[in-house]
Structures are given as C-alpha cells and as structure tokens.
C-alpha cells in the first residue's frame, strides 16, 4: 500500500465513525436542540473527513480542487443550516429539554 492509500483508508474510517455518532445522536438525544448539536458537529466532521479521503483519491487533478471546494462548502453551510433551524424553533417557542423533565426518558 502506498502512503496515499493508507491515508484514504484512515480518513474514510474516521469519517464513517463520526457519521455513526451523528446518526446515534439524532436518534437518541432527548430534544430538538441536542439533536441539532449532533447533526451540526458530528455530521459535518464525518462528511469533511470522508470528502478529504475522496480528494486524496483523485490525486493531483483539477477534480481534487472541486472536491476541496465541496468540502469547504459543506464545512460552512452544514452548521449554518442547523443554527438557522434551531433559532427558528426557539423563536416559535419550543422549550429546551431540562433534567427536571419527566425522568429523562427521550421521546
């Protein structure tokens, strides 16, 4: 294996791990705001690491530059979208979940 292939395998493994963390967070966390936390941070990191592996796979071509632009775009827009949705929900009056609520059992 060349060093580039080792880097690709490691980045893909790390990205898949963070995507699993994001999916578990979206399913298991108790309310909208904590789910936004999982969706914005873990999912962005998983996508960015995996797209980095794709860029290394394409090597020194112009396609790799396109992949890096896609990576930067995801890195900026994914947390922005989650923040906008959380703020819209707060403006609508959805209450955050606290430890006092209902024995801590998620919905």
């Amino acid at each position: 294996m060349t060093p580039a292939e080792i880097a690709v395998v490691l980045l893909v493994a790390a990205g898949t791990f963070f995507a699993v963390v994001a999916a578990v967070g979206v399913i298991r966390l108790p309310d909208l705001y904590t789910r936004t936390h999982a969706a914005s941070k873990s999912d962005t990191l998983g996508a960015v690491l995996t797209l980095g592996a794709v860029a290394i796979t394409f090597g020194g071509e112009i396609t790799a530059v396109k992949t890096v632009f896609l990576l930067l775009f995801m890195f900026v827009t994914n947390p922005t979208a989650a923040h906008a949705i959380a703020r819209a929900a707060y403006d609508q009056g959805i209450e955050p979940w606290t430890a006092d609520d209902s024995g801590g059992e998620p919905e």
């Binding site: 995507a19 999916a23 979206v26 399913i27 999912d43 996508a47 896609l70 775009f73 979208a81 949705i85």
Partner: protein, 95 residues
C-alpha cells in the same frame, strides 16, 4: 481519471453503503418527529449523507462528473433548510 486500485475502491464503496444504511436509520427521526424542526434536521442529515455517498461513488468508479451532481445537491440541501427556517417564523431574519 482511471479507477483507483481494487482495495481503495472497495473501501470507498463499503463506506458509501455504510452512509446509505445510516441515512435509512435517520429516517426514523423523520417519521417520528415530534416537531417539524426535528424532521428538517433529520432530512438535512440525510441530504449531507447523500452528498458524501455521491462523492464516494465518484471516487470509487473514477467518474468525476458525479461530483457536479454532489455540488448541486449540497446547494439544494442548504437552500431547503434555510428556506424552511425562514418561512416558519413570522417576520424578521433567522440568520
């Protein structure tokens, strides 16, 4: 470009199928809710998973054209989230 070595393309396609399985798992939150914003967040996660799947398939098969589809899909995904959060509040800016 030509396709990468069989080992690398196998790893990339395996990761793509793992991302697809995760998108199906997140679909539970879209169906369950309970609020509309929960569904939007879950659809956003599914959309970014789709972008990653498209990029992985583009790299594994050596088809750079798929990356353009991924770019357009990422744009539409972001626009969907912003539009929904914009139109669910009465007045004023969200961002």
């Amino acid at each position: 470009m030509s396709a990468p070595s069989p080992l690398v393309s196998g790893v990339l396609l395996g990761a793509a199928s793992a991302f697809a399985a995760l998108a199906v798992v997140v679909l539970y939150r879209v169906l369950r809710g309970p609020t509309m914003q929960d569904r939007v967040i879950a659809v956003n996660v599914i959309g970014s998973n789709t972008v990653v799947i498209l990029a992985l398939v583009a790299a594994a098969l050596g088809e750079p054209m798929y990356l353009d589809v991924a770019l357009v899909y990422a744009l539409l995904n972001f626009l969907m989230s912003i539009a929904i959060s914009k139109f669910t509040v009465e007045r004023g800016g969200v961002i």
